[in-house]
């Protein structure tokens, strides 16, 4: 796992705990962070960036939020969750129904959506105190099935779907990809910042201690039950917030948007990006979104140029490739893209010397 380890460049030393805990430690990092924010702000105005590209970026931002939560639970705390999409659904339905039934605006729905998903997470996370690994994974799989069943049979509009208003600030509606882009990016940055703060706090260290050896962690005085539940709560809160954003962005909520397959996608994203890494989460989501787009272009071309392939083979290429990529990462680079990123940074700092 790559989380929690940071080696500052030679010559940079923190002389107080506060300085040591800073997210941005050097001027270079500060400049790069500001440059990245400016770039994010300018992207919609860059030539060649279409509404479709912006839709992809909005989807990426929402997926980053959802995967951050999952990485906190799975990557940092070591608790496997294969039902994240169900908690996204809870958030989306909560925000959507509050808007559809009561007319609540986006801003009033976002916290209740996160809390509703967190409550569901608490319920399904409770067995985590006694279960580990695959057994725990099964309870989260049960969450996917049970929550979907409840939505299908207890919420009459769930299968039909219903419309949701886009967010608004006064008369300004976030109802186009360009407008929503800024909102989604703001939320993604905020949630990244919160996650980054969390994992370097005492809570984050407790999560990592539990992940690395829960018996040793308990012997050190860490309340396993409390922290495991807290990890579930945070993970599903993130999912709920992502769900609320999704509902108000799509302006449409329906049950079929939250499947087990989506949960698998989220897991693949954090595995590819790097378990236990905030940067890795972002890399993983971007990598998978980009890979999907490339394959959606190349797949049909392959099919077209190879007439012996059966109808639809080009599209099936997507699942085969994504599955293959996940396996390759697990075998060749289990620490994910985040580790590669770290290696690049080290190389840059040490260049031209190899030591």
């Amino acid at each position: 796992m790559s989380g929690g380890t940071y080696y500052p460049p030679s010559g940079i030393y923190a002389d107080s705990y506060t300085k040591d805990m800073r997210i941005i430690k050097t001027k270079t990092q500060l400049v790069l962070a500001i440059a990245a924010l400016i770039l994010l702000f300018l992207i919609p105005s860059l030539p060649g960036v279409s509404a479709y590209n912006l839709r992809l970026l909005v989807g990426t931002a929402i997926a980053v939020i959802i995967c951050l939560g999952l990485n906190i639970l799975t990557g940092y705390c070591g608790q496997l969750n294969i039902g994240q999409s169900a908690f996204v659904m809870v958030g989306a339905f909560t925000a959507g129904l509050l808007n559809y039934e009561l007319g609540w605006p986006f801003w009033a729905n976002i916290i209740p959506a996160g809390l509703a998903a967190a409550l569901a997470g608490l319920i399904f996370g409770a067995p985590s105190v006694r279960l580990k690994g695959l057994y725990l994974a099964l309870t989260t799989l049960a969450a996917q099935i049970v929550l979907t069943w409840i939505a299908l049979h207890q919420i009459s509009v769930a299968s039909a779907g219903f419309t949701v208003d886009p967010p608004a600030l006064g008369d300004f509606w976030f109802d186009t990809p360009k407008r929503f882009y800024y909102l989604a990016m703001a939320f993604a940055c905020l949630m990244c910042f919160l996650a980054k703060g969390l994992v370097r706090s005492g809570i984050g260290r407790a999560f990592m201690a539990i992940r690395d050896n829960d018996i040793a962690a308990e012997a050190m005085g860490i309340n396993i039950f409390k922290y495991k539940l807290l990890a579930f709560l945070i993970c599903t809160f993130y999912a709920g917030v992502g769900g609320a954003l999704f509902a108000h962005y799509m302006m449409w909520v329906q049950l079929e948007s939250f499947t087990l397959m989506d949960s698998v996608w989220y897991l693949v994203m954090i595995i590819v990006g790097g378990l236990g890494s905030i940067e890795g989460t972002i890399f993983g989501v971007i990598f998978i979104v980009a890979l999907r787009e490339i394959i959606s272009v190349v797949g049909p071309m392959l099919e077209g140029s190879m007439p012996f392939l059966p109808t639809g083979a080009g599209s099936g290429f997507l699942l085969v490739t994504i599955g293959g990529v996940a396996i390759l990462f697990l075998i060749l680079e289990p620490r994910g893209l985040a580790h590669r990123w770290k290696m690049i940074k080290f190389y840059y700092r040490l260049w031209p010397y190899g030591y």
Binding site: Y52, R55, A160, T163
Partner: protein, 414 residues
């Protein structure tokens, strides 16, 4: 060596891009399709997509579409939605940026999720699958299906008419429905109690758990409740389970398949022997019909196109669905070209001067004539007729009714 490999790979990728479809010369209109090429419904969508694609390519091969104000060829582009509404919306945006003037697909969930986009960007939808909200829009043109909530309603009206003809045996009409645990199933039964009261009959429903391999308990309960006939609300896999259970318990109650699967698919999946006597609803001529029933001109064309493009694969019913969508789009463009020149042909013009002027269009005999009348939402449901077929001992389908009027119920908008 490694550099050489990289270079060769790069050349290969470039070659693939260059080998892609070249831009058509002359005027062209863009027809978009958002379909789930991957995901749970990929087989259905692939067939549907193939039907539309083959037809527009066939029309292009014939020289394109000619009208009084000019002629055009069609550029067909598609996008894999993976049966996810969010991806469908992404796809709509992408296709619109590529100049799409009309969209087609066969996913009822997409019809509803994309409705706001169709109305906002004035791009009509021609589809085989109406959702719930989309039944309220004049931008939606259905080619065959009367909407998910009308499957059981139309069937109930048909069974009731048979029962009445027989002198109302038993005095009370009780019907059964086996409902699979699939997301669309509650929609099919939406407001069914109210409907039953209106029709003065009783519909008993029983749910079949997901993944079950035995529907005997459900069928037994429906039999005990006195169901005269049973409607099967399940996709092909669930329906085969119902058929196997019915056979094992010697059930002698007629079973009818809903449009979530076709009898042809069930014969392929469960075998002809199992499916003998099974009834199903159709909205166009079935592919697996008795060979003694003559092919319509549309069916002959479908068979020719399928054989030409996929000689090693078996043609299935959903191909006809896609073909019908393609036919309606082409007909709409042809009519619009009588009023507007190709360079002015956008989605709005296609709707106003093309699709809204389609009258008595039967897809070369594949279905009942369709007319889309502006201001008449019922007409946007399409042909509004259902025909019931049954599997015979040879594994082919025989019609058991003429074309019956479908019900046109709409789930109320909030």
């Amino acid at each position: 060596m490694r550099k050489k490999l990289w270079f060769l790979s790069l050349i290969g990728v470039l070659a693939l891009f260059l080998a892609g479809p070249s831009g058509a010369s002359g005027a062209e209109v863009v027809v978009g399709e958002v379909c789930a090429l991957t995901g749970p419904t990929s087989l259905t969508h692939l067939l549907c997509m193939s039907g539309t694609k083959d037809y527009v390519e066939y029309i292009n091969g014939q020289g394109g579409i000619k009208g009084a104000k000019g002629e055009v060829k069609i550029r067909y582009i598609n996008y894999d939605s993976q049966y996810v509404a969010a991806k469908a919306k992404d796809g709509f945006t992408r296709l619109r940026e590529q100049g799409m003037i009309v969209l087609t697909h066969c996913a009822s969930a997409h019809s509803d999720a994309l409705l706001a986009e169709h109305e906002r960007y004035k791009i009509p939808l021609v589809t085989g699958s109406l959702g719930v909200s989309s039944m309220w829009s004049e931008w939606v043109y259905a080619n065959y299906h009367p909407g998910i909530a009308n499957m059981i309603r139309t069937w109930a009206v048909w069974v009731k008419s048979k029962w009445e003809k027989e002198g109302k045996p038993g005095g009370e009409l009780i019907l059964g429905a086996v409902e699979s645990d699939e997301p669309w199933a509650p929609l099919a039964l939406w407001g069914i109690d109210e409907f039953s009261k209106e029709q003065n009959l009783k519909i008993v429903t029983d749910k079949m758990p997901k993944g079950t391999t035995d529907a005997t308990p459900q069928l037994t309960r429906l039999k005990q409740a006195g169901a005269r006939e049973i409607f099967v609300l399940a996709s092909a896999g669930g329906s085969v389970v119902v058929l196997k259970s019915a056979k094992s318990m010697g059930l002698n109650i007629p079973l009818t398949q809903c449009a979530a699967s076709t009898l042809g698919d069930i014969i392929d999946l469960g075998g002809a022997e199992l499916a003998v006597g099974y009834q199903g609803e159709y909205f166009y001529q079935p592919v697996a019909k008795n060979p003694q029933i003559p092919d319509s001109e549309g069916m002959k064309l479908a068979k020719m196109l399928w054989e030409k493009n996929r000689p090693r694969e078996k043609m299935r019913d959903m191909y006809i669905n896609g073909l019908l969508s393609g036919m309606i789009i082409v007909e709409g463009i042809k009519l619009a070209l009588n009023e507007v020149p190709p360079d002015k042909l956008d989605g709005e013009a296609l709707k106003k001067f093309g699709l809204d002027k389609i009258r008595n269009f039967d897809g070369m005999g594949l279905t009942v004539p369709i007319s889309y009348i502006p201001g008449d939402l019922d007409s946007h449901i399409g042909q509004r007729h259902t025909q019931y077929w049954v599997v015979n001992k040879e594994g082919y389908l025989d019609p058991i009714t003429d074309w019956l009027p479908s019900t046109t119920y709409r789930i109320k908008k909030k």
